[in-house]
Amino acid sequence: MSESSPKSSPPKRGSLRIFLGYAAGVGKTYTMLEEAQRRRAAGVDIVIGYFEPHGRKATIEKTEGLETIPRRKVSYRGTVFEEMDTEAILARHPQVCVVDEFAHSNVPGSERAKRWEDVRLIQDAGIDVLTTMNVQHIESLNDQVWQVTGIRVRETIPDWVVEEADEIVMIDLSPRALLHRLERGVVYAPDKALRALENFFTETNLTALRELALRQAAHQVEDHRGAAGPSGSAEKILIHLTADPSTAMLIRRGRRVADYLQTECLAVYVAKDPQWTDVTPEERIAIEKHLGFARSLRIETTILTGRDTAKAIADFARERKVTQLFLGRHSKDARRIVDNARDLVITVAAARRR
């Protein structure tokens, strides 16, 4: 095949490099800007699309000499917010764009809800992107992070978005060194630092998050190499959705296992009748939310109708050649499903608690 392409074809998609950390202050932005400076020195046309200074002197110094695209002002409910100006970046069209805080949620009313969506748009235009994120923003780790830290991270990124990155770089720092930075006021202003130390920044929390980050980076390095062999193996996972709030946890776990085993992942909801008359309006909203959540993680969803949930699932599983069923432990049908699908591997997913 020829390398050259006609002018009308879309540009080659820009690459994405993620600087991965496990907490504020480990040096993600600093390292990213160092890389930006190296590329600028090598003659690359590079701009800062978004940078969050957090008042950190050493980091701010690293932006010197780099062109910055001014932020866009967005007013929402009487307050003015500043967001990345994606359109201005596209118009400027550099070779490389630096975008801090990949997991950021844009102010409501923005063109796109999440910054990672802006980044994909920038990549689509053929611009390479350098970005930063912490491991706790990965969707499928949300429950583990909550169990470890007690914090429900709201700004999450679907795993597939992170896994599509061309490069991931682990920005490692020992928790002790990070705590020292915090105590010296390098990371946050003193009052905020004190609160951070009491809550999130305990040595155990940080150690656990750091391990998750290292394992995530190792996993991606391995996948990037194609070490797991050809994907699309014979295995296939099916997640049983219900109205139960633990379903979100079940979806994340099923997705994570499917990703690690590189198998296809499906989800199913079984309604008793086509009008869903057996569920309350609240339950219906919850089920629809779970179906939408599954789809956002690129899980194919199906709604079945059948009086006998256990039988409907087992039949569907056999028809679609599913090898493994994922059930919530709170599902009232779990026991009957287990009895109905004795030829399948069934995983009753953990319920994490604090």
């Binding site: 490069e167 682990m170 040595e203 656990a208 391990e211 290292l214 394992r215 190499r225 069934i346 009753v348």
Partner: protein
């Protein structure tokens, strides 16, 4: 069912706690910068840290510099006192007694007639004398990893440091860069990239493993029994009846893909038929062959024993075989039901039985 919080620590746990408490307070702190290949920037990171500590008023002395790449760190070293460049002069360091000793490259064989044959032993003595040490290490030099590394690179380093010494470090930091930045353009660059990627994955996993050890020690010390699942631990429950082959194969693949740990356990049963005993032994043998850690449990109640063991080892996934429902008492909870109920914080994966039974 055993309530998670209401359990006395086992003798094993108590022993682990005691061991944790015994570490000597006067020992210097050891910090290691770990890299997956030469040129990832370990030395720069190390001297950078020494430089910053010096600026904050700590008494930092350079005790060894690698001849290669010395120009790159010259600027950082300029403000530091240099007490040695080639071989580590241990007597000199102990006399000088700095707060922090910088030792570039931990894996060095000392010349004959030195106090210790290996540099890491020198470092140990320096630490024992209350001096903090910051050092740099390449994973190619970790003794226990050298077989695996030789399989990847075809080469084996003559210098090595035992893993136990690395585990004893107070801090370990990975110096990570994309392998792309180390690949030298040429006809073999794709093979090079492949190798570097494998080494890089190894370095990240070794660091994760060391940190997991620290985390477990901390949790043992503070009596935290929760399984946070930072590392996946898979427990395969083996019986004569279970379809062990499928379970073990799935367990192996899961452990491999998650970089997790694989455990297998069976609860001793009295009066096994000879046939059952043979099947059991064969099953355990398969588990052993794929590298599972085998545990034999004792106790009258199989489910209780498995749950107790799983909690103690912070297992994240339990693999068991389907159990036949009683024909006479179909509403009675069977072992699988009870296990699911008790294993709240763990995934329970149930496998089909062998067809013939």
């Amino acid at each position: 069912m055993i309530p998670a919080g209401d359990r006395r620590p086992s003798p094993d746990e108590l022993l682990r706690r005691l061991e944790c408490e015994e570490t000597d307070q006067r020992r210097g702190r050891l910090k290691i910068f770990l890299g997956y290949a030469p040129r990832v920037g370990k030395s720069i990171r190390m001297f950078d840290e020494g430089f910053r500590r010096k600026k904050r008023g700590q008494d930092v002395v350079v005790c060894a510099i690698q001849p290669r790449g010395a120009e790159q760190v010259a600027e950082k070293i300029a403000i530091l006192e240099v007490a040695g460049t080639g071989a580590l002069d241990i007597d000199c360091i102990l006399r000088r007694k700095p707060e922090v000793a910088l030792v570039d490259e931990l894996a060095v064989n000392n010349p004959p007639s030195s106090t210790h044959p290996k540099r890491w032993q020198d470092v140990k003595e320096v630490l024992d004398n209350g001096i903090n040490v910051i050092t740099a290490l390449n994973i190619q030099h970790i003794e226990e990893e050298q077989d695996a590394i030789e399989r990847i690179t075809g080469k084996r380093s003559a210098h090595s440091v035992p893993k136990s010494f690395i585990r004893s470090a107070d801090e370990i930091e990975v110096v990570d860069v994309p392998e792309e930045e180390l690949v030298k353009a040429g006809p073999e660059d794709s093979a090079q990239r492949q190798q570097l990627s494998q080494l890089r994955e190894m370095a990240l996993c070794i660091a994760a493993e060391v940190i997991e050890g620290q985390l477990q020690r901390y949790m043992d010390l503070h009596g935290i029994r929760q399984a946070w699942g930072t590392q996946e631990r898979i427990l395969i429950c083996i019986t004569p009846r279970s379809n062990a082959k499928a379970m073990i194969e799935s367990g192996r693949r899961n452990a491999e893909r998650f970089h997790g740990q694989l455990l297998a356990a069976y609860v001793e049963q009295p009066d096994l038929s000879r046939e059952d005993q043979e099947t059991l032994d064969a099953n355990l043998d398969i588990a052993r062959k794929v590298g599972a850690e085998i545990h034999v449990l004792q106790g009258a109640n199989v489910v209780d024993e498995i749950i107790r063991f799983a909690q103690e080892h912070r297992v994240t996934q339990i693999f068991i075989g389907h159990t036949q429902r009683s024909r006479w008492l179909p509403f009675m909870r069977n072992a699988v039901d009870r296990l699911i109920e008790a294993a709240e914080g763990m995934d329970v994966r149930i496998f089909p039985q062998v067809q013939s039974t």
